[in-house]
Symmetry: C3
Subunit: 174 residues, 3 copies
């Protein structure tokens, strides 16, 4: 199994900032998931064409079952991660963005400024996360309980987790 993380940040990709958000996302996956996995990782600038290219690469060539992006979800002119995500996805999953914003709203009223979304490309689930490490944990923890079952439904690998670290849920098959 391979999982992907893309830190979308002009400043991190230029080496001005340390790449904290991307590493925070990888650390959470490693803490929670017990099924062995490799990580595909990239730090790229806020350019829609580059984000799309990297998403296609991680989904199609690297066959990542889950691709997390960090950053680029706000209202600023360089924030284009949601647009890139929508451009490469077969199906959008609006419930992820809704729940992540509702969760972040418990902490900050500016949560509504995040345009983060999620979608399916082939057998990969792509989820946009915010750029701030604290918000990354809050958002990923909110939606992750549904992630393994989502990946089951798109014919991905069966993901197991450490139930002491995170609870997941798979409904009984009807």
């Amino acid at each position: 199994m391979k999982l992907g993380v893309i830190n979308v940040s002009d400043r991190a990709s230029a080496g001005i900032y340390e790449d904290i958000p991307g590493k925070a996302a990888v650390a959470l996956l490693q803490e929670w998931i017990t099924t062995p996995f490799e990580t595909a990782y990239a730090v790229i600038p806020d350019e829609q064409a580059l984000i799309e290219e990297q998403l296609r690469k991680l989904c199609d060539e690297e066959q990542c079952s889950l691709v997390l992006t960090t950053g680029g979800t706000g209202p600023a002119v360089r924030d284009v991660t949601p647009e890139a995500t929508e451009a490469v996805c077969d199906k959008m999953m609006p419930g992820f963005g809704e729940l992540m914003r509702a969760t972040s709203l418990q902490y900050v009223p500016t949560a509504i400024l995040s345009r983060q979304t999620a979608g399916i490309r082939g057998s990969s689930l792509i989820i946009n996360l915010p750029g701030k490490p604290k918000a990354i944990g809050e958002c990923l923890e909110a939606v992750f309980p549904a992630v393994p079952y989502c990946i089951d439904l798109i014919d991905g690998p069966f993901i197991e987790v450490d139930p002491e670290k995170i609870k997941i849920f798979r409904p009984k098959q009807s």
Copy 2:
């Protein structure tokens, strides 16, 4: 008055499964609505072109004021009911999907995997419901209080209900 229900399911349309979701949706309408109505009913496979055709038929030819679909709202490759709905609607109604997902989230964390939506085609309101009978009831009960007034606003018939069974709401006209 005519109301439509479409069960979208490869297995139910092939006779492998009993058609429980569609019948569950009809039973709720019959329990709640006191205005006399006929039901237009169909069980069809998860094919976007067929779903669109059936939605157009129930809205335009059969003149159903409300069309409920069941099933086909998840992330799997055959789940295309929301795409078919969006393709035939003049206007999308994002508040229905948001409230149905928020309601289902009280029961299961996988509620965010549902992409169910609603929209207007002419004088018909189309609402996507999930495929599991229990979830159908939870979701339809959550949004139904707004349905009769919505149908008023799109020049449909005046729908009355049994207030012992379901509460509806019509704001005072301004």
Copy 3:
């Protein structure tokens, strides 16, 4: 600084109704914001082309940092304010509509019938509000705490408010 308000209403623009919603929105901005500002104001019918033209004028020529619309967000055939908004925006901000509907749902179940949204055009934030004065206040109060920071992020003026009247929030820069 200039702020814009557009009352979208066939009846108010024809002089049949008094222009209460637009004035209610202006009154809230004047009550809350202490940074001096001028108001650009219009009352226009529910015609998509006219709404788009007015939005472009207030954003591009008048350089309004914030443009509020009132009315035209429901399911009726003449309700086209969200479509006009989406047509002129560079980026959509789904969190505004989600939070405004969730807020209005605390008062009326028909809140899900509002299709109100928000988006960015250049350095302007456009927010759709409902048409009823009571709902205008409820919705604008819910999202306004995030508005000044949003306008910071799109290179607009630094907006200050009276903290006795409304609380706003700016996260510490990372």
